[in-house]
Symmetry: C2
Subunit: 323 residues, 2 copies
């Protein structure tokens, strides 16, 4: 009998990673192509398909591809399109699923945004196994989120639900890439904590090794390393970031009352530096009825392949739901 | 053939209203008893049942009771209990559904909080008919909410989802009855706008007829009437209330991406005075992908019977789902 697999595809601004994944979450093989060298989506897709074919051929076992799952910025589950993604070179509305059908016909092809895919990955292969109500927050350059309620991802009326990166922290607050001001991701993300460090370098007089690094050179890992060495500015930046995140997670809990919230991505690697203040301010801002009930956890997915596994889980989830 | 009906019961702090409601939303008869004269829940329930029996007997047609739906403050759908409701005299956890079974055996008895019941009422009998993703906001003494996603009410992990009245507007903001500070309902509700008027009376020097009314005498209707006559403090209070509500509705949209948001309850009667600024600030704070998509509407349920109709809809919804 052939081994049943799906293709999990994780489209990012720089790389497109993919993997050939079994139902029980074994990634038989994975690889990637460049995303940003293709201004033409058709040429990109042709090359992506050819590379995937090569990878499939190189697998020793005989495989049967049962579906394709795709996670992409601004991916819309309902329409199968990527819409106005700021970090991709393909402008406007790209009919990804429709074009993909040329290469993979007769099997389910499903698309959603990367954070939604991460949430399904967490549900099928990660720490949310068996949970029906949870939220996944991805903390990369921006802040993404996927909300699962009653065992199903919330896509909302138009397929774009779960944009917690753009809830309002402060009226007329920090300028966001989306055109608004004061969005959560301008405070809580790898970029957000960097902005906070620069505010603190201005407001506080205390010495800090971060005073020697330019804005463009500074990254979240440096802030995290400085904090571990006790740097007061870095520590204060994590406290502030956790405060804003904690308050906003309390808000999210007041919307959908999840069993757990999972953090994933670059900034989440800071671990307790971020988790402790986040948990403290989250609890402080919860209604009594929610206090000490909601787990705040790090994702149990491997970061390097989380995108692939999320996309694969999306495909398996679709196949299971259609049975 | 007997007419199939459900009993819709709307438990409030002062009155318990109920109605005998057909599947197509006709309320054959309704009545009420006092809630707050009973410190003992068993005595209350015995009297409520006896009164309902009388009402049923007084209906000329022969009826068959198919279910009971109950909306109550802090009502938990999963457990069938009212838990720590601040405005009710029964303290702790009251096993409403279990006790109700003594009087109505062999038929579904369902309980949820009043705002959730209002949302189901809107879905079955009101303006949300045919919608799968929407939010209902009740603006009374406090602010309640019910969120419907993918055609189902979001109850969350523990049955308490949809507490938008307690999302955070301002860290260390106004003191809330729940024990927290800065909750949305301290700004946006009949009480919230009154608090805003008193801040404005302090901060602004301009004449206002509201300067002659004490805090305890002032109500939302007076503010609304003053605003209609052009009173500057009252107008500014509506602008501010709409601003806070608009920003928070934008946040809610970023969570679950609804097709529409319905406003219901005393403060919603102010109509455009509240709707216009709310819509303006809501749109300003939405991601481009959500702009000009989400309808902001007044509930189409009659306010006097909205609670009864919501509770009845809850029962019919349960009966339909179990078929």
């Amino acid at each position: 009998m052939k081994k049943e697999v799906v293709i999990g595809i994780d489209i990012g601004g720089t790389f497109t990673k993919y993997g050939i994944v079994t139902k029980d979450g074994k990634c038989l093989k994975d690889d990637f192509i460049q995303t940003n060298t293709y201004t033409d989506f058709d040429a990109y897709l042709e090359n992506l398909h050819a590379t995937i074919e090569n990878t499939c051929t190189s697998i020793e076992e005989e495989i049967e591809i049962k579906g394709v799952g795709i996670g992409a910025p601004n991916g819309n589950f309902y329409t199968g399109t990527i819409e106005q993604a700021p970090n991709l070179k393909w402008k406007g509305i790209v009919p990804v699923v429709e074009k993909m059908k040329k290469y993979f016909s007769g099997i389910p092809i499903v698309l959603t945004n990367d954070a939604n895919a991460a949430a399904i990955g967490e549900m099928i292969y990660g720490g949310a196994k068996g949970m029906k109500d949870f939220i996944v927050i991805t903390l990369g350059t921006g802040l993404g989120s996927g909300i699962v309620s009653n065992g199903k991802l919330i896509y909302g009326h138009d397929g774009f639900a779960g944009e917690l990166g753009h809830v309002n922290v402060k009226i007329n607050g920090r300028q966001c890439g989306c055109g608004k001001k004061g969005c959560l991701e301008t405070y809580v993300s790898a970029t957000g904590i960097k902005r906070t460090v620069f505010r603190l370098l201005c407001e506080m007089n205390i010495d800090s090794e971060l005073r020697n690094i330019s804005y463009n050179d500074l990254d979240a890992k440096m802030i995290s390393e400085a904090a571990k060495k006790g740097d007061p500015i870095a520590l204060e930046a994590f406290e502030y970031t956790g405060k804003i995140l904690g308050v906003k997670l309390a808000d999210a809990i007041e919307h959908t009352s999840p069993e757990a919230i999972f953090l994933l991505g670059g900034l989440a690697k800071a671990g307790d530096l971020l988790l402790k203040p986040t948990k403290k301010y989250m609890e402080e801002n919860l209604l009594p009825v929610f206090k000490n009930k909601v787990k705040l956890l790090l994702s149990s997915l491997q970061e390097a392949t989380a995108g692939i596994m999320g996309a694969a889980a999306l495909a398996w989830n679709e196949i299971n739901n259609n049975k």
